[in-house]
């Protein structure tokens, strides 16, 4: 494991490079579950955390682009009472598609992330998109 890096005042404690394939979503959920359990989220908050991470990784696989090795990057950051998992892909987020709503087949992932996390932050740079999902311990 690489040395911890400071980021937004929180400490990055772990990183995962995940092949950008639907079949790897289970690995992303297990990774999120381990991080949430180690951080001490209760069972319901763990489940919500895993749910939101799965949504972000799904978006990265569906709409984003992997790095040159076919991977997207997950990293876990913690501060005193907040756990954050960042999902990074190498596509440029192009905005929300029109017609995203509850009553259509597509486009509910982001709204569901917002409803299950305490904070969802989207950073769009040139050549990469990062979604940071944060959940407080209680």
């Amino acid at each position: 494991m690489r040395a911890p890096a400071e980021h937004n005042g929180a400490t990055a404690i772990d990183e995962l490079r995940l092949p950008a394939l639907p079949a790897k979503l289970g690995v992303a959920r297990e990774y999120a579950q381990r991080a949430a359990t180690a951080f001490g989220l209760d069972a319901d908050r763990c489940y919500e955390f895993v749910f939101a991470v799965n949504e972000a990784v799904t978006n990265a696989i569906r709409h984003g682009a992997p790095d040159e090795h076919g991977h997207i990057h997950l990293s876990v950051l913690t501060d005193r009472d907040r756990l954050t998992l960042a999902v990074r892909d190498y596509g440029t987020f192009s905005g929300f598609a029109p017609g995203c709503a509850t009553s259509t087949e597509h486009g509910r992932g982001f709204a569901l992330m917002a409803r299950t996390m305490d904070a969802v932050q989207l950073s769009v740079g040139s050549g990469s998109t990062i979604v940071r999902l944060s959940k407080a311990r209680a």
Binding site: R29, F51, T102, E105, R108, L112
Partner: protein, 127 residues
């Protein structure tokens, strides 16, 4: 490793639901790796002439937005067909999946039941 299964209740001998009625059971982790197959199984029932479908999610341990999207898409498709209706079942004990369905606002779009029997009663009444 993720795991999911999709089957029709006819495979376990429960095939007497009436004409045009089919019951499908989807369990395990219903994520983006599973949702295309979920969509295909539901679509093939509609293609076979089924107009009233019951989808039992009681054995699902996880459901994501893409699987929920499939369910909503099928409900909308059946809405447009004469006599078409989708009833979703999720047992009361499956609080986690119910919570996700609730957050997604599924209940405002389709009928959600706590048992297959209840869902079939409603489909029969609607017919």
């Amino acid at each position: 490793m993720s795991f999911f299964y999709i089957g029709d209740a006819a495979a376990v001998g429960e095939d007497n639901h009436g004409e045009g009625v089919a019951v499908l059971v989807a369990g395990g982790e219903l994520d983006y790796a599973a949702s295309p197959q979920l969509k295909e199984r539901l679509a093939s029932q509609i293609d076979a002439g089924m107009r009233r479908l019951v989808l039992d999610l009681s054995m699902a341990t996880f459901i994501d937005s893409t699987a929920i999207g499939v369910v909503v898409g099928v409900a909308l498709q059946l809405d447009e067909l004469s006599g078409g209706l989708l009833a979703v079942v999720c047992a009361d004990e499956n609080k986690r999946v119910l919570r996700i369905l609730e957050i997604a606002g599924l209940e405002s779009l389709l009928a959600l039941h706590s048992s297959r029997e209840q869902a079939l009663l409603e489909l029969t009444a609607a017919g």
